[in-house]
């Protein structure tokens, strides 16, 4: 689509581009520095300690990190098409990778073989993407509300008679359809391909009991911390922030839905080789163990757990116990179906 826009540039637009061209940061010839786009906030800070600073120390190549858009796909495409490589390595999700490789490929091959990545969970690496950390959707509940025998599964979450209380869910079809199917009795490893009709039928049952449809990570943290809701779906790391801050809450790992963040390199990047070196560096067990000190996401390299104290390891998504009934979010399925289901979900929510 963007290609198409470019060919139809009006004279006006070209004039503006000429006017603006000095502002574009051109790639510098000497690759003594790479620019990495991450999600900012605590992610950027922990990656600085775990990846950027050690890489600088090991290679002498400076790593500058910037914060990218919540959805970076559009900016990424524009960057590749105009050849103004403002980013050398970007933190993406498989969903973004899918959109950046279909129908046109915007990503550089990483050229990583399993032999080069000891300890790496196999599903975490594709030809143009290497997972760095796993984050997962769980549910959490207030232990001051459910003192004994709290809910243990999504079916329990749906059981409003046995577990009365205010509930919250994420306001997005992604993960909610999976949750609804598991609540309806579908085993976690049989969820895909999603039975959309059955999922919405299951959602119909819980809808009257959802008090808050949260829209941002910050909001979910706040909802649990203030006791605005008694149980809610939430990203595990966000619930852990509450628990670390003294909120009486518990994370239920059973049937969690995991996704992964990871590195990709824009196609045609003049610093692709150094960027590949950086990506490989981030797969190391020591590096992966390091970022868990701040951010409670799971390493993709299970060897990292050798270097992580068990009391911290238990809080992470890829800890063996937590992975027992973990469902991996299917980005390809969603990539093909998202737009239509999103519209149906919105309509359903407002009905």
């Amino acid at each position: 689509m963007i290609n198409h826009m470019l060919t139809r540039r009006s004279a006006l637009a070209v004039g503006g581009a000429l006017l603006a061209s000095p502002r574009i940061r051109r790639a510098s010839a000497a690759a003594t520095q790479i620019t990495v786009a991450d999600n900012g906030g605590p992610v950027g800070a922990s990656f600085r300690d775990a990846f950027y600073d050690p890489f600088e120390k090991a290679t002498g190549i400076k790593v500058v990190n910037i914060t990218q858009n919540v959805d970076p796909v559009a900016a990424f495409r524009v960057m590749v098409e105009t050849g103004s490589y403002t980013t050398d390595v970007a933190l993406l999700t498989p969903g973004f990778v899918y959109r950046l490789t279909h129908p046109t490929n915007y990503l550089e091959a990483l050229d990583l073989t399993p032999a080069q990545l000891p300890g790496m969970i196999p599903q975490m690496v594709t030809p143009n993407f290497m997972g760095t950390d796993v984050w997962t959707t769980v549910f959490a509940y207030r232990t001051d509300k459910f003192a004994q025998a709290g809910p243990e599964s999504w079916a329990d979450f749906w059981n409003v008679d046995k577990f009365p209380g205010r509930r919250g869910l994420y306001r997005s079809p992604g993960t909610n359809l999976e949750i609804a199917l598991m609540a309806d009795g579908v085993p976690y490893d049989k969820v895909y391909p999603l039975d959309v009709e059955r999922a919405f039928a299951s959602l119909d049952r819980i809808k009257p009991h959802i008090d808050v449809w949260w829209t941002s990570g910050a909001q979910s943290t706040q909802l649990l911390q203030s006791g605005e809701v008694d149980l809610l779906s939430i990203w595990s790391a966000r619930a852990q922030v509450d628990i670390d801050g003294g909120t009486p809450a518990r994370i239920v790992w059973n049937q969690n839905i995991a996704s992964v963040d990871g590195w990709s390199i824009p196609k045609g990047s003049p610093r692709a080789d150094i960027s590949r070196q950086f990506v490989k560096f981030c797969a190391g067990a020591a590096q992966q163990a390091a970022y868990t000190t701040v951010m409670k996401n799971g390493p993709t390299n299970v060897d990292a757990y050798n270097a992580i104290p068990p009391e911290r390891g238990r809080l992470l998504p890829t800890f063996p116990d937590n992975r027992r009934s973990m469902l991996l979010y299917d980005n390809e399925w969603w990539g093909a179906n998202y737009a239509a289901i999103k519209q149906r979900f919105d309509a359903w929510l407002l009905a």
């Binding site: 540039r9 581009a17 900012g40 858009n69 970076p72 900016a75 203030s226």
Partner: protein, 587 residues
């Protein structure tokens, strides 16, 4: 005077008349070109895209079929208009007495209170929303107080409903309403109601038939501005409301940011733009928008629609007169003068609540945004000032705001001179055009610019941010400068010119020194507008060029901790200081 000096004088006179010959309206041309390139073109382009198939660019109504085919989007549209209308009515009803009360005060005191009214307006919408979330939470302060007085010890549900969103929107828009009504009220000759009383009118009649009547242009202008601005809300309904409070701004943001569906986003934007314009035109026909122009020449155009509008207002005034007089009759002997003051103080208190909550939350020692904070400390201030990301965003905001305010003032200033000085009949059209960015909801402008800038490689550049902020700041700056220049005594310029000064010298030694205060005030207001702007920043900053409000927005998605409050305290301090300076300069 010797001969050679006289010769020089005549030469200069010749030059001056040459310089004076072109119509001053030409001065508006740079501004018009700027608006054509960065406002009219991108918005039109967005509307055109909505009629095009994304692949073949052929004419297609698919996006509109989607809008009208699924009841969900029609429902969202209905909600948006209903919420905007309610917000407008509440703002006018609540704000009018406050504006009236402010006009009765001494200028010094008024200036200070205006600052208090405006502070929440300049507080980030995010921060205010989180302030309300904390305050109105299930176990929050208000719920605890209500539980004490309610019979079952149970507080009603305060958040995640229409009431909460409406309150949040009214809270955000009230300052705008008050500040739009205020100048019109200040222009009203206060001896007129008294004259009416000496002629036998009661106090209430004197107020309603004279003062209220004269203040109507202010009310209508405030109503329109609040209504249009309310159409584009997306943060407040997302955080304070539930699914049933979804407004169209949220859907547009989602369509562009996560689905990148330009056609559908464009169609939704088109609905917003078309309805905003339709409302503006209907409004202009019904009530007239002369207050927006702060013009001294009242319109005398009298269409039948206008007559309906006026009689509508007459009816309101008549009913109010009856009510107040009836009340006065019933309560004969009691004096209720203090009631207005008390009400206004309470209302200003309401306006200040979330802002005041932020202060202790920024200095909390705990890890969360909570009120009351568990303890006080400088922990989060240290995080803010120690973080290169937050500092970079802060400096960028200063830089962008500095340049944007200069550009805005330059463009708005020359255009204002053009409109004020030109006798040309096109002046009115130019005037309307410069106000247009205020009539188009800013989210539409931002999306249009995002599309244009993506093609020009201006996304994620400081220049892109400057342009976007300039477009949004132009109308208010222009209106302010037109008011300043209308108040300027141009006879002085003529006097200087007859004494031999040419255009430039008149400008430099007469006009500029006299309007300097107003000019600087406009500059500072443009600075503030850019400094706290979020909508354009969300789309244009591209993550690389993050401004302070955008950084706060990103922070909400990935983390929420009191750094947000610390940052907003900094924004408040900057904005508050500038506001005080601007107020002082205006005098």
């Amino acid at each position: 005077m010797n001969k050679s000096f006289l010769l020089l004088f005549f030469k200069k006179e010749g030059l001056a008349s040459f310089l004076r010959r072109p119509d001053p309206l030409w001065l508006a041309v740079p501004g018009l070109i700027f608006l054509a390139l960065f406002f009219i073109y991108p918005v039109l382009k967005l509307l055109i895209i909505s009629f095009q198939d994304p692949l073949s660019a052929a004419f297609s109504l698919a996006a509109y079929r989607r809008v009208f085919g699924a009841t969900v989007y029609l429902g969202v549209l209905r909600t948006t208009f209903w919420m905007a209308l309610q917000t407008t009515l509440w703002c006018l009803v609540l704000g009018y007495p406050l504006a009236y009360w402010l006009t009765c005060l001494k200028p010094r005191r008024r200036g200070r209170l205006i600052l208090l009214v405006m502070l929440p307006f300049w507080t980030s919408a995010l921060v205010k929303a989180f302030g309300w979330l904390v305050l109105l939470a299930r176990y929050g302060l208000v719920a605890k107080l209500l539980a004490l007085v309610s019979p079952g010890g149970r507080a009603p549900e305060l958040l995640h409903g229409r009431g909460a969103v409406l309150m949040g929107m009214v809270h955000t828009m009230l300052p705008l309403a008050v500040l739009t009504m205020l100048p019109v009220m200040l222009q009203i000759d206060r001896t007129l109601p008294r004259a009416a009383e000496t002629l036998g009118a009661s106090g209430a009649q004197g107020f309603w038939r004279v003062f209220f009547h004269l203040s109507v242009p202010g009310i209508t202008a405030a109503g329109l501005l609040v209504f249009i601005a309310s159409l584009g809300f997306f943060i407040t309904p997302a955080l304070l409301g539930g699914p049933h409070e979804t407004m169209i701004g949220q859907v547009i943001l989602e369509q562009i940011q996560s689905v990148l569906d330009w056609q559908f986003g464009g169609a939704l934007s088109a609905m917003l733009v078309v309805s905003a314009f339709a409302v503006s035109i209907a409004y202009d026909r019904l009530f007239g928008l002369s207050a927006l122009s702060v013009s001294s020449t009242r319109q005398t155009q009298r269409g039948w629609l206008r007559r309906i509008g006026l009689s509508l207002l007459e009816a309101v005034a008549y009913v109010s007169t009856l009510l107040t007089e009836g009340l006065a009759f019933l309560l004969r002997g009691h004096r209720f003068g203090w009631l207005l003051g008390t009400y206004c103080v309470l209302l200003i208190g309401f306006l200040l609540i979330p802002t005041l909550l932020i202060l202790p939350m920024a200095f909390t020692s705990g890890p969360f945004l909570e009120f009351p904070p568990p303890g006080l400390g400088l922990r989060w201030m240290a995080v803010y000032f120690g973080s290169p990301v937050w500092m970079a965003a802060t400096w960028r905001s200063f830089g962008v705001a500095f340049v944007a305010s200069l550009v805005t003032t330059l463009i708005a200033g020359t255009a204002a001179i053009a409109v004020v000085r030109s006798p040309n009949r096109w002046g009115r059209g130019v005037f309307t055009l410069f106000l247009a960015p205020m009539i188009v909801p800013s989210i539409v402008t931002a999306v249009g610019l995002f599309y244009l800038f993506a093609k020009l490689s201006l996304v994620a550049t400081d220049l892109g941010l400057v342009i976007g902020h300039t477009v949004l700041a132009l109308p208010l700056s222009f209106v302010a400068l037109v008011a300043v220049l209308r108040g300027h005594d141009w006879g002085l310029d003529q006097a200087a010119a007859t004494l031999g000064a040419n255009r430039l010298r008149v400008m430099r030694f007469v006009t500029l020194p006299l309007v300097k205060g107003g000019l600087l005030a406009a500059l500072l207001f443009a600075f503030i507008a850019s400094f706290e702007e979020l909508t354009v920043a969300i789309f244009i900053s591209g993550g690389l060029k993050t401004t302070l409000p955008k950084q706060m927005w990103d922070d909400i998605v990935f983390a929420v901790n009191p750094t947000l409050a610390a940052a907003s305290v900094v924004v408040l301090a900057v904005v508050g200081t500038l506001f005080l300076v601007a107020e002082r300069l205006r005098k």
